[in-house]
């Protein structure tokens, strides 16, 4: 007979166990028939340490009925997942019946063999100039949005989900949406948005709201990715996964770690935060022998707008780039307030250029980056020495930076620019600068594409 030794925070220590496996699923039944799920974090002699997803509120040490299930937490998958809304643990919350699973899949998934991967080099057009032109998203990439409180990351994520498509291909496309600890308004924004555009048909949502149990969030991204893996690698769909907000996920992880008295790493987050995040992010990708793909856009808010905070920092080390939103652009009224300078797509260079987008794309992108960086530098200079002291060239850089923000970065929420439009706009802006300043562009490209002014 099991004996509850201790209940503290999200953890329950169970005594009298035998044959309990590490990481297995635990079913906890309360006297009032309520059922909760847990997961074994550690086994030691006859003790098992269990993390309870729904929290330990209301549990006692006497009357619990504990069952060890002998396997990990699983998600039942079938094509019927599409168009449905589930809780953070994969239970239907849209008043429709449970799905009849085709199979059950462990939510922890398994590591993709690097040898089996195919390199993500298919250009995805999101219709947002800053992303398509400069921070190109590719199929199978993991590209997070680093946001901060008050910035419109949800609108951008929804716009990407709405507009993303691959040139000249009519493949089946699906969106998996995982929400961790977001507010009802935010969740509702996505649901309404997807419903309005009809995208809901091809969307599966896993929603853990701020009012839902915090520990459940630890399972939510894994449940969402398990669904995505099924759609991508069993049903050959191209799946876009949006996970928001990863900061809440990490907070929950910290809560469990603290309850276990683990030696903390930076800012109280567990030392294994990097590895733990990697097991989520690295599930994105393409496989050599499968049609489908998983493209992952995690959204996280940087506490205090600080990029060096462990959550964005470790995320940036795992993901293939980052899209960084900037408060000063937002204040200028620019949407989407994406700051291209610290943003990056590591997979860009293999997904653009001849045969992918247009041959001038790499040169234009590099030149826009360099020129905008220089323009911003000049702008800082002006604060100190005044505009009068600037050289003619520097003044042109100032103007370029201004125009670049107002016309290239700025665009409508419903505006869907093609890559050709984006590149042409880039050339138009570069024509502000003299040819000698455009060192990243070779003569033949310049002659072919430059806007003659």
């Amino acid at each position: 007979m099991y004996e509850i030794k201790e209940i503290s925070g999200p953890l329950v220590l169970v005594g009298g166990c035998s044959g309990v496996g590490f990481d297995e699923l635990v079913l906890i039944e309360l006297k009032n028939q309520e059922k909760r799920n847990g997961r074994v974090l550690e086994v030691h002699n006859d003790l098992a340490l269990v993390q309870v997803f729904e929290g330990t509120q209301g549990l006692d040490t006497k009357s619990l009925k504990i069952t060890f299930r002998g396997k990990g937490l699983e998600l039942g998958v079938s094509p019927d997942l599409l168009g449905r809304i589930f809780s953070g643990l994969g239970k239907p919350i849209d008043n429709a019946p449970e799905i009849i699973p085709e199979k059950k899949a462990d939510i922890n998934g398994a590591t993709i063999n690097p040898y089996a991967r195919n390199y993500p080099n298919d250009f995805i057009q999101t219709g947002i100039s800053t992303i398509d032109g400069l921070i190109t998203l590719t199929r199978g990439q993991k590209l997070p949005i680093f946001s901060a409180s008050g910035l419109p990351h949800s609108r951008i994520a929804a716009q990407i989900a709405r507009q993303a498509h691959v040139k000249n291909k009519s493949d089946s496309f699906a969106v998996v949406f995982g929400a961790m600890g977001i507010t009802f308004e935010e969740a509702d924004f996505f649901i309404t948005n997807f419903k309005k555009t009809g995208a809901i048909e091809n969307t599966t949502m896993f929603i853990n709201l701020a009012s839902d149990p915090a520990i459940e969030r630890i399972a939510t991204p894994r449940v969402a990715l398990t669904c995505a893996e099924y759609l991508a690698f069993d049903l050959n769909m191209h799946v876009l996964v949006i996970l928001t907000d990863m900061t809440n996920y990490c907070e929950s992880l910290r809560e469990v770690s603290a309850a276990r008295f683990e030696v903390p790493g930076r800012r109280g987050y567990p030392g294994y935060l990097y590895t733990d995040l990697a097991t989520i992010y690295e599930r994105a990708g393409r496989l050599k022998d499968k049609e489908g793909s998983i493209t992952l856009i995690p959204v996280l808010t940087m506490p205090g707008d600080d990029k060096t905070h462990p959550i964005p920092d470790l995320t940036g080390y795992i993901t293939e780039g980052q899209i960084i939103l900037d408060r000063s652009l937002e204040r200028k009224g620019i949407y989407p307030p994406i700051d291209p300078l610290p943003s990056l797509s590591r997979l860009r260079d293999k997904a653009i250029g001849i045969g992918k987008t247009r041959e001038d794309h790499p040169s234009v992108a590099n030149q826009l980056f360099a020129a905008y960086a220089k323009g911003r530098e000049v702008r800082e200079l002006v604060v100190v020495i005044g505009e009068g002291a600037l050289s003619e060239t520097d003044k042109k850089y100032m103007e370029f930076a201004e125009q670049f923000e107002m016309r290239f970065i700025e665009q409508g929420e419903e505006e869907n620019r093609s890559i050709v439009d984006t590149l042409n706009l880039g050339w138009e802006l570069l024509s502000i600068l003299p040819r000698t300043e455009l060192k990243r562009i070779k003569d033949e490209i310049f002659q072919k594409y430059a806007k003659k002014s």
């Binding site: 030691h44 590591t111 993709i112 063999n113 990097y274 920092d313």
Partner: protein
């Protein structure tokens, strides 16, 4: 035989009488691979190299009574291994796209026959490290079969022929010798005699080769925040450096990066021989989502394989990307062992482990009678949290390495690549390598380098002033410094990793480009000395051309340089001549 009493993540504690520290064990029904890392009485703490989900108290543990080892022999090259030398292609055959646990695969191909050609003769006396024979493993590399440790004496029998690696190729004083040997990964294999480094590892990357060179047998660290281009630099070095053998360890990094290497390297040709670069490369991929204990092992697995090729007398370069992930693996295991943490939770032995790893590098005489020389160069990238270089992994690394390529996020944001900051980086090999550079490139190369560095540091100081009071406040001489150093930055230090011509520059080409830029500086000084304005310099026809020099193909470079140089000199001469006539 023992029994599990505790499972906590990758750490398993078992009642295991007779276990030895460092021994490899098989854990549970699936026979997961683990290693004993601590003993207390009969209790052994074991780090398990595979996922431990489902392991139970009471599950069986068997010790193999041998330390964790790698197998060395023909078949290593162009392989891709996980952190404990399991070939990932074979794992895929066994378990599909996703790695399943407990997969047992052979480290080397045991069925393939290699053509063995003896070097040693029957009746000859051999000692450890002597070359018994060779196998042409790939068209680029001849694999030398050496007498393993503990084997010495007279060669009784040795024969040429096609053999599998397990087939005896020789009998040395009664002992059968095969083409495969085992070495424990945590044991260093020292050179017979370490010597001072004398030759440069040429990488074709201008900022590295000219400003901050690394020697064959040396050590370097590349720290930088994410997005600064650590991995691109490591890839460039793996592609272009003139080492005979490349060992690339992807330690806790992205899966797609390894895929990139796997897909790209077979297509890349060695600049000298035109053979695929993959033929000289061994890849070790333990990506961030693979078990953390194996990540800790992967760096040592790589180093042991590297030392084996070095022992053959080759120049070997080992790239470890990233050592921070390895340090984090140490930290996690240390935490689970409930050790007293040092700085930022890292174990107190972090510094000594890092030093021991980098000390595996070196140049010198290998074991064996023929006194052949080999080298092992180690280049580790470091991923400091928040780009903060004062954190323990960076600091402890900098204490042991001799070259520091510091990456700068500001440069990266402006898309100046490689984003190596020329003010904070350094190389302590310049003195050692000076004779080599003067011999290989030009008499004035070292001087040119110094002049360039001085120019850049002057620019840095002037920039401060410009930021405060504006460009106008500078003298024309100072503005000339800014003008030329801008060209050094944009036309020399900036190098595209993706342009087919620009991505690799020979030392000669580097010299010529720099020489041209600096000649503008020298001529500019002359022009200013004559009282002419700075604008005159910009009128030199060649000044406009500077941005294109790096795209001049290698074989046309010398001609190009000569023409450009004489044109500049002529123009300046006539300009100065005109002035003196007027006077």
């Amino acid at each position: 035989m023992g029994k599990i009493i505790k499972v906590a993540g990758p750490l398993v504690v078992a009642e295991l009488p007779g276990g030895k520290n460092g021994d490899m064990v098989e854990v549970g029904e699936l026979k997961l691979i683990g290693e004993i890392i601590e003993l207390k009485g009969n209790q052994a703490s074991i780090q398990v190299y595979e996922e431990t989900s489902g392991l139970k108290v009471g599950d069986e543990i068997t010790s193999t009574n041998t330390p964790l080892s790698v197998e060395l022999g023909p078949g290593l090259l162009s392989a891709i291994y996980d952190g404990i030398q399991r070939p990932l292609d074979l794992i895929m055959k066994e378990s599909g796209n996703f790695i399943k646990r407990g997969v047992k695969v052979s480290k080397l191909d045991r069925k393939k026959k290699w053509h063995f050609v003896p070097v040693a003769k029957a009746g000859e006396n051999v000692i450890q490290g002597d070359i018994l024979g060779t196998v042409q493993e790939t068209s680029l590399v001849s694999h030398k079969i050496m007498a393993p440790k503990g084997i010495q004496g007279t060669v009784d029998k040795i024969e040429e022929g096609d053999f599998t690696i397990d087939h005896p190729i020789a009998i040395v004083s009664g002992n059968k010798v095969t083409m495969v040997q085992k070495r424990p990964i945590r044991q260093r294999n020292l050179l017979d005699k370490k010597e001072a480094v004398t030759s440069q590892l040429i990488t074709g990357q201008r900022i590295i080769d000219t400003l901050f060179p690394i020697a064959r047998g040396g050590t370097a660290a590349v720290p930088g925040p994410f997005g600064a281009g650590k991995t691109v630099i490591q890839h460039q070095l793996a592609k272009w450096s003139n080492a005979d053998i490349i060992i690339f360890v992807g330690c806790g990094e992205r899966g797609n990066e390894m895929t990139d290497v796997l897909l790209e390297f077979p297509k890349l040709k060695d600049p000298k021989t035109g053979k695929p670069l993959m033929e000289r490369t061994v890849l070790i991929a333990n990506t961030s989502n693979m078990p953390i204990a194996a990540r800790e092992a992967s760096v040592n697995t790589g180093a042991t394989i590297a030392e084996y090729f070095r022992d053959m007398g080759y120049h070997v370069a080992l790239m470890a990307d990233s050592t921070s992930r390895w340090a984090e693996a140490l930290r996690e295991m240390s935490g689970r062992l409930e050790e007293m943490p040092g700085e930022e939770g890292y174990p107190a032995y972090l510094a000594s482990r890092l030093a021991a790893f980098y000390e595996r590098a070196g140049y010198g005489e290998c074991h064996g009678k023929d006194q052949r020389k080999g080298s092992l160069t180690i280049i580790g990238s470091v991923s400091p949290p928040g780009g903060d270089l004062s954190e323990p992994v960076v600091q402890n690394t900098l204490r042991v390495v001799k070259v520091f390529w510091g990456l700068d996020y500001k440069l990266a944001h402006a898309r100046h690549f490689p984003a190596i900051n020329w003010i904070m980086s350094y190389s302590l090999y310049v003195e050692n390598l000076s004779p080599f550079l003067i011999n290989e490139v030009a008499d004035d190369f070292v001087k040119l380098r110094e002049e360039t560095l001085a120019l850049l540091s002057k620019e840095d100081a002037l920039d401060e002033i410009v930021r405060l009071v504006g460009l106008e406040a500078l003298s024309e001489q100072e503005q000339l410094v800014l003008l030329v150093s801008k060209s050094v930055r944009e036309d020399f230090l900036y190098q595209s990793a993706f342009d087919p011509i620009d991505q690799y520059s020979t030392l000669k080409k580097q010299y010529y480009i720099l020489k041209l830029i600096i000649s503008i500086f020298h001529n500019g000084k002359k022009i200013l000395a004559q009282g002419l304005p700075l604008e005159e310099i910009k009128k030199i026809t060649f000044y406009e051309e500077l941005g294109k020099v790096r795209f001049v193909p290698e074989n046309e470079m010398e001609e190009y340089y000569k023409t450009a140089k004489s044109k500049i000199d002529e123009e300046v001469k006539s300009l100065l001549g005109a002035v003196s006539q007027n006077v």
